[in-house]
Amino acid sequence: MPIVELRNLYFSYEGSAKPALKNINLVVDRGEFIVLTGPSGCGKSTLCRVLNGLIPHFYRGRLSGQALVAGLDVKETPTYILARHVGMVFQNPENQLFLSTVERELAFGLENLGLPEEDIEQRVKQALDYFGLADLKDRPPYLLSGGQQQKVAIAAVMIMEPELLILDEPTANLDPVSAEEILELLEKLRKEKNISVLLVEHRLELVLRYATRLLIMREGEIIADGPPERVILTEHANIVGIPPVVEVYKILSGTKYALKDIPLTPSDLTNEIEAVVKRGVGH
């Protein structure tokens, strides 16, 4: 069963004539790493709100079409049930963390589920180890660095064992090394726990290498959907900014120095260029 199934989905916010989502069709399977991008105001956040049930349960408006998450109809399922299947992480972790210690922060969601204390203790301990937070367990989250806070926010969501993890620009305020650590962590979670990741991000140069699928939205519609190597070469990608390594590929394509495969990282590009140089000129 796919984790997300959206069919002919439309949504307009109350008081707005213009639909925020138009004819969205999207099926997401377990283990996919989806990067969702598009100009601001294109509907990315609105789409995320449908997937965790904030639409239609919190944001009023007109929702039509079908929206299934983990097989549950979003329209008929309360958000606290959906929250067991869908975890959300935002740009500012400080808005999401509010308890006195990291350990309490991780236990909070499980306590709300009413699990026995021993189970909670065990799962918190496992999570502290898995996310490398054991040394920080007694620290208040607000005294941690941005990268550490974001790690705690992800751990607090993952401890609920969701099948889908949605992140809205989780690295926007992080330094490059901390950002990479968070992205590597998502990749590890996807592989080891077989969850689906939906990452909203503008900086494709940072995230494209992790994507199994790239979605581009514009004015409420999904205008491109497919493997990142293919989507990034379509004209739709021009509105979202092409990573510099892909630009090199595009400049050289059609010349005698054309690269064989599309590079998504500096190390891909290094290998491609090395191959061209070895091949020699005039092929």
Binding site: E180, R203, P244, P266, T270, E274
Partner: protein, 278 residues
């Protein structure tokens, strides 16, 4: 060279927290676009808060446009130095987007017709006209960020400091922002950005200062600084994609670059000797 900011051996320690600035000396020239980079907690924001007098040096001194910040009221400095913080929510408070922009203008005593004109301009350049009547809190975080930048630019300060201006901004907005920074530079304004966005900094700034643990680790032209592999590793930065590629091609002997690597796709292609045919 005309210096608009001169920080000399500045120390600052937060109460109960470690040393945030540990002897920083930095001069900023009129008309430059300066990028300050470094990991979270390096002291970047603490440093720029010294440039409009929000913080005063505990040792050393900061002189802004000839005024020693220890002896100049913040209200005087604020007219000359506009600062936009990383989290826009800390500085938005008006009922509507339009009032948010007009607030500072009124505060500085501009005549009403100038206020109207400036507010209109600021809303337009940031694509916020359609939200004029809305509450700032109804905007997305990226839009709130642009609103807080617009509010500062509208009163035309000589020095503009932007903390993470590109975060949450899409490709076109970043391009528009870059264009705007360049226009300000042309008008003799000084722009300081605090940023983690290496691709933006390498293409759009005149100089990069790298900080770590309250100290300046290195500074210079963007390409030169970001080509210094040891420096950026120590500062927990990542090189721009093309510089990283050029570095690994150089270590494999495919191309020869010494101190400064190519930083843009076309520079890389020229360095490879492929340029003439394209």
């Amino acid at each position: 060279m005309e210096w608009v900011i001169e920080a000399e051996d500045v120390y600052y320690e937060y109460e109960g927290g470690g040393l945030a600035l540990d002897g920083v000396t930095l001069r900023v020239a009129k008309g430059e676009i300066l990028a300050i980079m470094g990991e979270n907690g390096a002291g970047k924001t603490t440093l720029v808060k010294h440039f409009n007098g929000l913080l005063k040096p505990q040792r050393g001194r900061v002189v802004v446009l000839g005024m020693d910040t220890r002896h100049t009221p913040v209200s005087v400095l604020a007219r000359h130095v506009g600062i936009v913080f990383q989290n826009p929510d800390f500085q938005l408070f008006a009922e509507t987007v339009e009032d948010e922009i007009k607030f500072a203008l009124r505060n500085f005593g501009f005549p009403e017709d100038v206020i109207e004109k400036r507010a209109k301009w600021a809303l337009k350049i940031f694509g916020l006209e359609k939200y004029r009547e809305r509450s700032p809190y109804a905007l997305s975080i990226g839009e709130r960020k642009r609103l807080s930048i617009a509010a500062v630019l509208s009163y035309d300060p000589d020095i503009v400091i932007l903390d993470e201006p590109t975060s949450g901004q899409d490709f076109l907005q970043k391009e528009r922002l870059a264009e705007l920074l360049y226009l300000m530079k042309q008008q003799g304004k000084t722009v300081i950005i605090v940023t983690h966005d290496v691709e933006f900094a390498v293409r759009r700034s005149d100089r990069i200062v790298v900080m770590k643990a309250g100290k300046i680790l290195g500074e210079g032209p963007p390409k030169k600084v970001l080509s210094d592999v040891r420096l950026i590793k120590e500062a927990r930065l990542k090189p721009p994609q093309i510089i990283e590629t050029a570095h690994s091609l150089t270590s494999k002997g495919v191309i020869v670059s010494k101190d400064i690597y190519p930083a843009t796709p076309y520079e890389l292609i020229r360095a490879l000797g492929l340029g003439e045919d394209i």
